[in-house]
C-alpha cells in the first residue's frame, strides 16, 4: 500500500521498521477518486494531507479564459500536499489526472510524527524541499526552454521519478496524460505539443503514444532537455 512511498524515502535515507510502522499508522483511510477531479481547492481549510498511493495527480492554478498551468506532477509514492501540514490553506488546487488511490493523513497524525520521530520528520522536510527543487526546474523550463526541450525535460524527469518507485520498464513507462494535460504542464497549447512530439519522434528521441512514453535515445533526450538529475537528489543523504 505505501510501498512506493517507502521506495521514494529509502532511496534517500534509511527508514527503520518502527518509522515504517509509524507511517502506516498515520493513514486514517484510503479513498479512490476518478480521473480529472479537483480534490483540494485553493483557500479551503485543510486538516489532512494526501499521500498518493496509485495514479497521477497535479498541482495547478487557473487563469481567466480557461487557461491552466500545472505546476507539478505527482506520481505514486508522493505526498501531493505535505506542505498543507504547515500552510493549512493552499495557494493552488490539486487534482487527479487518472483514477487515483489516496491515503488520507490527518495533520494531527503528522504532528505526532514530528514529536516522536525526528529523523522521519527531517526526511519529510527533505521531500518538501525536493518539491521546491522540482518547481525551480519547471520555472527554468517555462521561462527559458524551447518547446522541444520542455517536453524532453518533463519526460526525463518522469522517467527518473517513476524509476525510483519501480514504475518504469526499461526505457518506457506508462503516462496516462492527454496532449492537453502535457500542454498545461509545459505552458504550450495542445497543437504545439502535438507538433513538438512529432519533432521529437522524428529525431528518434522519444515517442509518446496511447498513454505510454518510450525513450528511444536517452542520451540524446537529456541533451535536448539539458537535463541534470541532480535536482531530484537521488543519492542517500545524511539526515
Amino acid at each position: 500500500m505505501i510501498e512506493r512511498h517507502l521506495l521514494k524515502l529509502r532511496a534517500r535515507s534509511q527508514v527503520s521498521a518502527e518509522e515504517e510502522n509509524a507511517i502506516r499508522e498515520t493513514i486514517a483511510e484510503i479513498r479512490s477518486y476518478p480521473a480529472d477531479q479537483t480534490v483540494i481547492r485553493a483557500g479551503e481549510r485543510l486538516h489532512s494531507s494526501m499521500l498518493l498511493l496509485d495514479g497521477l495527480m497535479c498541482r495547478y492554478k487557473d487563469l481567466s479564459e480557461g487557461q491552466r498551468q500545472i505546476t507539478e506532477l505527482h506520481v505514486a509514492g508522493d505526498f501531493a500536499d505535505l506542505h498543507s501540514f504547515t500552510l493549512k490553506r493552499l495557494d493552488h488546487n490539486v487534482m487527479t489526472l487518472t483514477p487515483c488511490q489516496i491515503g488520507i493523513v490527518p495533520h494531527i497524525n503528522l504532528q505526532r510524527i514530528t514529536e516522536q520521530f525526528p529523523h522521519l520528520t527531517r526526511l519529510y522536510w527533505f521531500t518538501t524541499n525536493m518539491d521546491a527543487a522540482i518547481h525551480r526546474e519547471w520555472e527554468v523550463s517555462l521561462g527559458r526552454r524551447t518547446a522541444a526541450s520542455r517536453i524532453a525535460a518533463l519526460f526525463c524527469e518522469l522517467r527518473v521519478r517513476l524509476g525510483v518507485v519501480g514504475m518504469t520498464d526499461g526505457d518506457s513507462y506508462q503516462l496516462r496524460l492527454t496532449q492537453t494535460d502535457l500542454a498545461e504542464c509545459v505552458g504550450l497549447t495542445s497543437i504545439h505539443v502535438n507538433r513538438t512530439l512529432k519533432e521529437l519522434r522524428e529525431r528518434s528521441l522519444v515517442e509518446f503514444r496511447s498513454g505510454r512514453v518510450r525513450i528511444l535515445d536517452w542520451e540524446g533526450l537529456t541533451e535536448v532537455a539539458e537535463f541534470d538529475p541532480a535536482y531530484l537528489y537521488l543519492d542517500p543523504i545524511p539526515l
Partner: protein, 82 residues
C-alpha cells in the same frame, strides 16, 4: 461536447491530432486552432524564422474536415511604421 481534431499542415509536414479535444462548437475549435498557431509561431519567431504557409485542418469525429484555418489568420502582420 463534440470532439474536434486539429491537424497541422506546414513546412515540416503533416502532424495528425491523435486525441482531439472536446470543444463547445466549431467557433471554439477555431479559437483553439488560432491559439495553437500563435503558440507555434511564437516559438518560430524566437528562432528568427516564421512559416506562415501552414494551416490547421479542423475535423470532426467522422474524419470530415469542417474548416481549414490558415496560419496567416492568426496574426496581423505590419511591415511599415504606422
Amino acid at each position: 461536447m463534440p470532439r474536434f481534431y486539429l491537424h497541422i499542415r506546414n513546412g515540416s509536414g503533416y502532424a495528425e491530432d491523435p486525441e482531439g479535444q472536446d470543444l463547445s462548437d466549431l467557433s471554439a475549435a477555431r479559437s483553439a486552432a488560432i491559439d495553437g498557431v500563435r503558440s507555434l509561431l511564437s516559438e518560430e519567431a524566437r528562432h528568427g524564422e516564421l512559416d506562415l504557409g501552414g494551416s490547421i485542418e479542423i475535423a470532426n469525429e467522422d474524419g470530415n474536415i469542417l474548416l481549414i484555418v490558415p496560419f496567416s489568420d492568426a496574426i496581423n502582420l505590419r511591415r511599415s511604421p504606422r
